[in-house]
């Protein structure tokens, strides 16, 4: 069932202009947001863990373009990009990073623990692997309630060596659950490369023994992501059960802010950035196809920077949670 990368898209695929503009804007928002988060982390405004999504933007932006607002989304701890792509307010996300009252979890969750019932975003999970059964449970509920909704369950290349992932693949296929498992293979699980951790490095094949079909995609190409995503979502939505998409991607920054990333060379990172940056690729396309002029692109950059600046301002001005909040939201 599994098949390998169809990285060369059919040239004939028509992508409408508005969609391309949205891809660019959404990816840029994540990029700028994360750069800013990194910057204010260095200023001591964000504490603890902070896992940046820079480099992987095409995966979530492409995938989110394939679902509706009624569908469910869940991911692991590198989650800021997913929240923004779900339409969550950058102010609320940034204020959660700074641990303020205005954050999505009132400052009580932090970088890895944000949720939005309104946007059907179910977290933000800090234990590697845990989001996979939970995401499968979201799909279980979608089927139980006889909706035609699907769940996008994101995970990293490190996650795929956890046993509960396979427990989930098995039950999802057994029960025909509408879930698309998106493996964001950024090549490193913290400091361990895929080939040092995985006996089977073709991660899209990890569902084979459960008959879950899988496919490997160039996750740096938002169009390829969206095209594969549409097919996988359609597969799940039509009642055929789960589908696995392995997105070959790359994170430019360390695993977290405290990771000096000594496990890979500077040259490797620079080469990836220079040759396959997802935002640069679409930027070129926008110019070549004359969707935008340089000036128009600059205006979008300015607008996005403004949104991020407002988010940072909000995240600094919002007060810390009231001390009474210590004992709320435990049991009701």
């Amino acid at each position: 069932m599994a098949r390998k990368a169809t990285t060369t898209r059919k040239k004939t695929t028509k992508v409408d202009k508005e969609q391309v503009q949205k891809y660019y804007r959404d990816m840029l928002l994540i990029r700028r947001f994360e750069e800013k988060a990194g910057q204010i982390y260095g200023m001591g405004l964000i504490g603890g863990f902070c896992h940046l999504y820079i480099g992987q933007e095409a995966v979530v932006v492409g995938m989110q373009s394939t679902i509706t607002s009624e569908d469910a989304v869940i991911t692991s701890y590198r989650d800021h990009g997913h929240m923004l792509a779900c339409g969550m307010d950058p102010k609320g996300v940034m204020a959660e990073l700074t641990g303020r009252e205005g954050g999505y979890s009132k400052g009580k969750g932090g970088s890895m623990h944000m949720f939005s019932k309104e946007k059907n975003f179910y977290g933000g999970h800090g234990i590697v692997g845990a989001c996979v059964p939970i995401g499968t449970g979201l799909a279980f509920s979608q089927k139980y309630k006889e909706t035609d909704n699907v769940t996008l369950c994101y995970m990293g290349d490190g996650t795929v060596n956890q046993g509960q992932v396979y427990e989930s693949f098995n039950m999802a296929e057994l029960w025909g659950l509408p879930v698309v498992y998106v493996i964001e293979n950024n090549e490193y699980a913290m400091g361990t490369s895929v080939k040092r951790a995985s006996a089977q490095t073709e991660l899209f094949r990890r569902g084979e023994s459960f008959n879950v079909p899988g496919e490997q995609i160039d996750g740096m190409d938002v169009f390829a992501v969206a095209e594969a995503g549409r097919k996988a979502v359609e597969w799940a939505r039509s009642g055929k059960g789960p589908y696995i998409l392995e997105m070959k991607t790359y994170r430019y920054r360390g695993h977290s802010m405290s990771d000096p990333a000594k496990y890979r060379s500077k040259e490797e990172v620079n080469k990836k950035r220079a040759e396959s940056d997802p935002i640069e690729r679409i930027r070129e396309k926008l110019l070549n196809d004359k969707v935008y002029t340089e000036d128009e692109l600059k205006n979008i950059d300015r607008e996005v920077k403004g949104i991020v600046a407002q988010a940072v301002e909000f995240a600094q001005e919002s007060p810390e949670p009231h001390p009474d909040e210590l004992y709320t939201d435990i049991l009701i």
Binding site: G109, T136, S141, G163, N170, T328, D329, I330, L331
Partner: protein, 458 residues
């Protein structure tokens, strides 16, 4: 001498069963492996196979006989060279009374409580004059789930063998027939996976009941219970919730060894964001499970394999619930307070009966919910009796008794006339040997000794 065929024990906790049907007649030749009879227990129908070859000389127990004790001779077999005359000299010896080791709960008294300071008054839970029916804990739990499933389509049950097999311990018997496979779901053996699926379904608005065959296996899933279910409300600033019940057998059964005999009450009771329930009798099991299913928080519901088969009075009420987080004074007394829960209540109540013969009137409190703990009811009792003994099957270090003891010291130190004593399971992995297992568990005598110590009556 003819060979006796004995009533077999078909599970670790079986003490008696029904000899439903003979599949052989007197005079039949049998060889090992032949099915001789069918035995019904409260869990299942099982076959009795011949071990020896020979002729069925006599059937000692008629078909369709109830309550045949384990190890009772049920038939006699003559081997090839044996003379039928030897039957004439045969007399059925006294059958070993296998049931002697099983705690007798008939001593349980009605719920009585005098009005105490902040203590919870459980007397209103069952209105006076309510009709009562005898029911096993197993049936009470099943009825609780069935009633909640009838009124709320969001409620479903999943777990190993809950559907087609009718439950490993038959707690889900009949549910598949009534509710169908959409709502009664057999899972593969995959605790972490299906616990997580339950949590995801709860996030998404369903009301899952996740059955663990025993809580020993739930250690595979404890990350999902604690990190994904218990902490979510807090981590989301109150935005998300996981209304889910994790239930199954907890603690020691009988001779099932170290990996299958652990009590997890203290483990889960450590966790903010969880409600932990551990009922003793059938009425509490039913009323508390119904409340647990309706509760918007994750609930760990600890049952007990030995208690499954024991019967108690259950009120005949359309919708009988018991509030979570409320202890009950199961027996009134002035001389000492015994605090316990679940199987520990069996020891506590039997000890109280024996102590009364010595003139010591123990007040026995059944916590029922371990977290949040109804410490007010405990404290109100201590202020009256000035002495306390805790009883649990779990280990001593960081146990439920340790917590109660520390809280009493903090909040009622001046009322104490003696140190609080803990009766617990011994600080060892559960041994298999019958004698060692008995030593490892708390006993009625342990409770009596502790009470005599705190009342200075040796």
């Amino acid at each position: 001498m003819p060979t006796e065929i004995l009533m077999p024990a078909l599970s670790p906790t079986m003490t008696e069963g029904k000899l439903a049907r003979w599949l052989v007649n007197e005079g039949d030749q049998v060889s090992s492996g032949d099915v001789l009879a069918e035995i019904e227990t409260d869990k299942a129908t099982m076959e009795v196979e011949a071990v020896d070859e020979g002729t069925v000389a006599r059937l000692l127990i008629a078909a369709d006989t109830d309550n045949v004790a384990v190890n009772t001779p049920i038939a006699l077999l003559l081997e090839e060279d044996e003379d039928a005359a030897s039957l004439d000299n045969y007399s059925v010896g006294a059958a070993p009374a296998a049931s002697a080791d099983v705690p007798d709960n008939s001593v349980e008294t009605a719920v009585v409580i005098e009005s105490a300071n902040e203590a919870y008054d459980a007397s209103g839970e069952i209105p006076a004059g309510t009709e009562m029916v005898k029911m096993s804990v197993r049936e009470a739990l099943r009825d609780a789930m069935a009633e909640e499933m009838r009124t709320d389509d969001r409620v479903f049950i999943m777990g190993e063998e809950v559907a087609e097999y009718q439950g490993a311990y038959k707690v889900t018997q009949g549910l598949l027939d009534e509710f169908g496979k959409r709502r009664v779901i057999d899972t593969p053996i995959t605790e972490q996976g299906f616990a997580g699926i339950g949590v995801g379904a709860a996030y998404h608005g369903l009301r899952p009941i996740v059955e663990f065959m025993t809580f020993n296996f739930a250690m595979q899933a404890i990350d999902q219970i604690i990190n994904s279910a218990a902490k979510t409300r807090y981590m989301s600033g109150g935005q998300m919730e996981s209304p889910i019940v994790f239930r199954g057998a907890n603690g020691a059964a009988s001779r099932v060894g170290a990996q299958h005999s652990q009590c997890y009450a203290a483990w889960y009771a450590h966790i903010p964001g969880l409600i932990v329930v551990a009922p003793h009798n059938a009425a509490d099991a039913k009323g508390l499970l119904k409340s647990a299913i309706r509760n918007p928080n994750p609930v760990v519901f600890l049952e007990n394999e030995i208690l499954y088969g024991q019967s108690f009075d259950v009120p005949v009420l359309d919708d009988f619930t018991i509030p979570l987080g409320k202890a009950k004074v199961a027996r009134k007394g002035d001389d000492v307070t015994i605090v316990s829960f679940a199987m520990g209540m069996s020891y506590a109540l039997q000890a109280a009966t024996k102590l009364a013969e010595d003139g010591i009137n123990a007040e026995v409190i059944d916590l029922r919910t371990i977290r949040p703990m109804d410490i007010d009811t405990v404290l109100a009792s201590i202020k009256k009796t000035n002495r306390c003994v805790t009883v649990e099957e779990g280990w001593p270090q960081h146990g439920v008794g340790a917590e109660i003891s520390a809280t009493i010291m903090e909040k009622a130190f001046d009322y104490l006339d003696a140190p609080v004593l803990r009766v617990t399971g011994k600080d060892v992995p559960m041994p298999y040997a019958a004698n060692l297992e008995k030593l490892a568990l708390p006993t009625v005598q342990d409770v009596i000794d502790a009470v005599k110590s705190v009342t200075y009556r040796s």
